[in-house]
């Protein structure tokens, strides 16, 4: 379990071109391990970009990132992929499940390059689907699942490599209020299990949830202070 620290992080897209755009502007913040943190802010405030940087999906234009005290901002792609695979599990806004595959196969995909035995991997994936109460849909192709079921499959997939940190981008954007509350219930269980959870959202059901410890309000690529409960 490692603390994530950002120091003066900037991210500029299309640098030097007429459409240059600064998505993050000098962010200094810390994500404490074992807690649920929400990046709160309107669309275009830089939440998704910050999530990408925290999850080692992209590098900042400038500034430094530390994971457990070790600087990772300048590591080559191969090492970043390794860190990403072991440390982070991702739940995307559109779920991004692979169509044509069953729920079970989708959950197994992130673990394929690790070379684990298929039987053991399948058992683990099945265990996660059962834990998230979608085990009965394991053999169903994902395009036949409901929105809530798809999200549970996406959560199981994010957990397959047993990462310390779970990253979710607008996880309730496509869910109704009941399903959104159910999702936060799952987050609570994961938090109680010791996982670090980082969520980008502008949904009050998320950032007002009692399982959230830290909220980082964002606007125009900047973090406007920190709320800790």
């Amino acid at each position: 379990m490692a603390r994530i620290e950002l120091k003066e992080v900037r991210k500029v897209f299309h640098a030097g071109k007429p459409n240059e755009f600064c998505a993050l502007d000098g962010i200094t913040a810390a994500i404490e391990p074992g807690r649920t943190t929400v990046l709160k802010g309107p669309s275009g405030s830089g939440k998704t970009t910050l999530l990408s940087i925290l999850g080692c999906m992209t590098r900042p234009t400038s500034g430094r990132i530390f994971l457990g005290g070790r600087e990772i901002s300048s590591l080559p792609e191969r090492f970043l992929t390794e860190i990403r695979r072991k440390t982070f599990g991702f739940i995307f806004q559109q779920f991004h499940l692979v169509k044509g595959l069953t729920a079970l196969e989708n959950v197994m995909v992130p673990a394929y390059p690790l070379g684990e035995k298929r039987e053991a991997l399948r058992d683990r994936a099945m265990g996660l689907l059962d834990l998230l109460e979608v085990g009965h849909r394991a053999r169903t192709n994902v395009e036949w699942l409901s929105g809530g079921e798809m999200q549970r499959v996406a959560i199981a997939r994010a957990l397959i490599n047993d990462p310390a940190t779970l990253i979710a981008d607008e996880p309730t954007a496509h869910l109704d209020s009941r399903l959104s509350r159910e999702f936060m219930g799952i987050v609570r269980r994961l938090g109680n299990g010791g996982k670090t959870v980082i969520i980008a959202s502008h949904d009050p059901i998320v950032y007002e949830s009692d399982c959230v410890r830290d909220v980082l309000p964002m606007r125009d690529g900047k973090v406007l202070g920190e709320e800790t409960r």
Partner: protein, 377 residues
């Protein structure tokens, strides 16, 4: 982390990806296998016929001597036999009588050979399978042949040659020397050509040189020259077919290139997801590599097996007229399968290797994109 486990898992994922796009991949395999089938059929057929012809020619005389008049083949006097026999190294010399007979009813040309030891006597013939198939008369019936003086010889068919040697005996008509001379009005004392055997095979060229010295109006043809000509003719015919197929080959290359190099939006999205989920660029390339291998190997084996059946069990129905070369009497035969590792590897390198690489390049381009693209999608 086990290397084999990783390969197996990625191969499993590749296979399920291929199955997800069944229609597209099946179409690709069908077209790809068809092209391999065409190429392999030409190569197998040309090679088998060459081998077959060479096997037959191995029994052929070492030197054939023809007489030339004004640069054209003419009948050769049997008096030349003694003069050639006098050349050191010559083991035996013998005159042959053979020619072509045009049968106007069927429009076919027969190869007629006079056999010194013809067992059935005058006014009888032994015919090849092609002749037998072409004419209504069967063994025991009569075959009328128009002589060069305008009269008819009524030849009793005594035997039909076995089908084993059909590639070279299909159009044969064998008869006695007397009947042959009567049919073509060839006087006694001359033959079509002379055949020689030489004691030491290494002296063939020397003997051939001496024949021209002793008999300047003759042309010796060695067996090696005939073999070379056969090779050249069959290679040329194979080349002609390939040239005709170039259109089809080009269409396939464009089709395969398009299918292999153009990643669909769906595939790009999938590669983005895999990268986002922690697959490395090399993992994605490995997956695409396996995809290329599976598609091209399946097509390759399918095409080669179909070509094998086509050439060696169905007598190469599609190309026989081009490669066998008879105008009317096509031999009906089953070729002895000749497949060398060289032939298979040439086909392999022409088809499987380029395709596999063609699939890897575009996926490498797609796989090197930032994984965060999936977050922003």
């Amino acid at each position: 982390m086990s290397w084999t486990g990783k390969q197996r898992n990625i191969l499993d994922f590749t296979l399920s990806s291929l199955l997800r796009r069944k229609g597209r991949n099946a179409a690709l395999i069908v077209v790809y296998a068809f092209v391999v089938f065409l190429l392999a059929s030409v190569v197998f057929l040309a090679q088998s016929i060459k081998e077959e012809a060479q096997a037959v020619l191995r029994e052929a005389p070492e030197i054939v001597v023809q007489r030339l008049v004004a640069g054209r083949h003419d009948l050769i006097p049997e008096t030349y036999i003694d003069r050639i026999r006098g050349i050191p190294g010559v083991a035996s010399v013998k005159a042959r009588l053979w020619g072509y007979y045009y049968e106007p009813l069927s429009g076919a040309n027969y190869t007629v050979i006079a056999d010194e030891n013809f067992p059935y006597g005058k006014r009888t013939v032994v015919i090849g399978n092609g002749v037998a198939r072409h004419l209504p008369p069967l063994v025991g019936k009569t075959m009328p042949m128009r002589t060069y003086s305008g009269s008819y010889l009524f030849m009793r068919i005594r035997e039909t040659l076995s089908s084993e040697s059909e590639l070279v005996s299909s159009d044969l008509v064998l008869m006695s020397v007397d009947d042959f001379r009567e049919l073509f009005r060839i006087p006694a004392g001359v033959g079509t050509d002379l055949v020689l055997s030489v004691r030491n095979p290494r002296e063939v060229a020397t003997v051939a040189g001496k024949i021209v010295e002793v008999l300047p109006d003759t042309r010796p043809i060695t067996r090696a020259e005939v073999l070379r000509t056969y090779d050249a003719v069959f290679d040329w015919r194979g080349g002609m077919i390939v040239a005709n197929l170039i259109g089809a080959l080009m269409a396939f290359v464009i089709f395969a290139w398009d299918k292999a190099t153009g990643l669909s939006a769906e595939e790009r999205r999938e590669i983005g997801i895999l990268k986002g989920l922690g697959w490395e660029t090399s993992d994605v390339i490995l997956m695409k590599f396996w995809e290329g291998v599976v598609v091209s190997l399946s097509s390759f084996f399918l095409g080669v097996i179909l070509a094998y059946v086509h050439v060696f069990f169905a007598s190469a129905t599609l190309f026989e007229s081009a490669l066998k070369g008879w105008s009317v009497l096509y031999p009906n035969f089953r070729l002895k399968p000749v497949i060398t590792p060289y032939l298979v590897s040439v086909l392999f390198f022409l088809t499987v290797v380029p395709y596999t690489f063609a699939t890897v390049v575009p996926s490498w381009r797609a796989a090197t994109t930032d994984p965060d693209a999936v977050m922003r999608a």
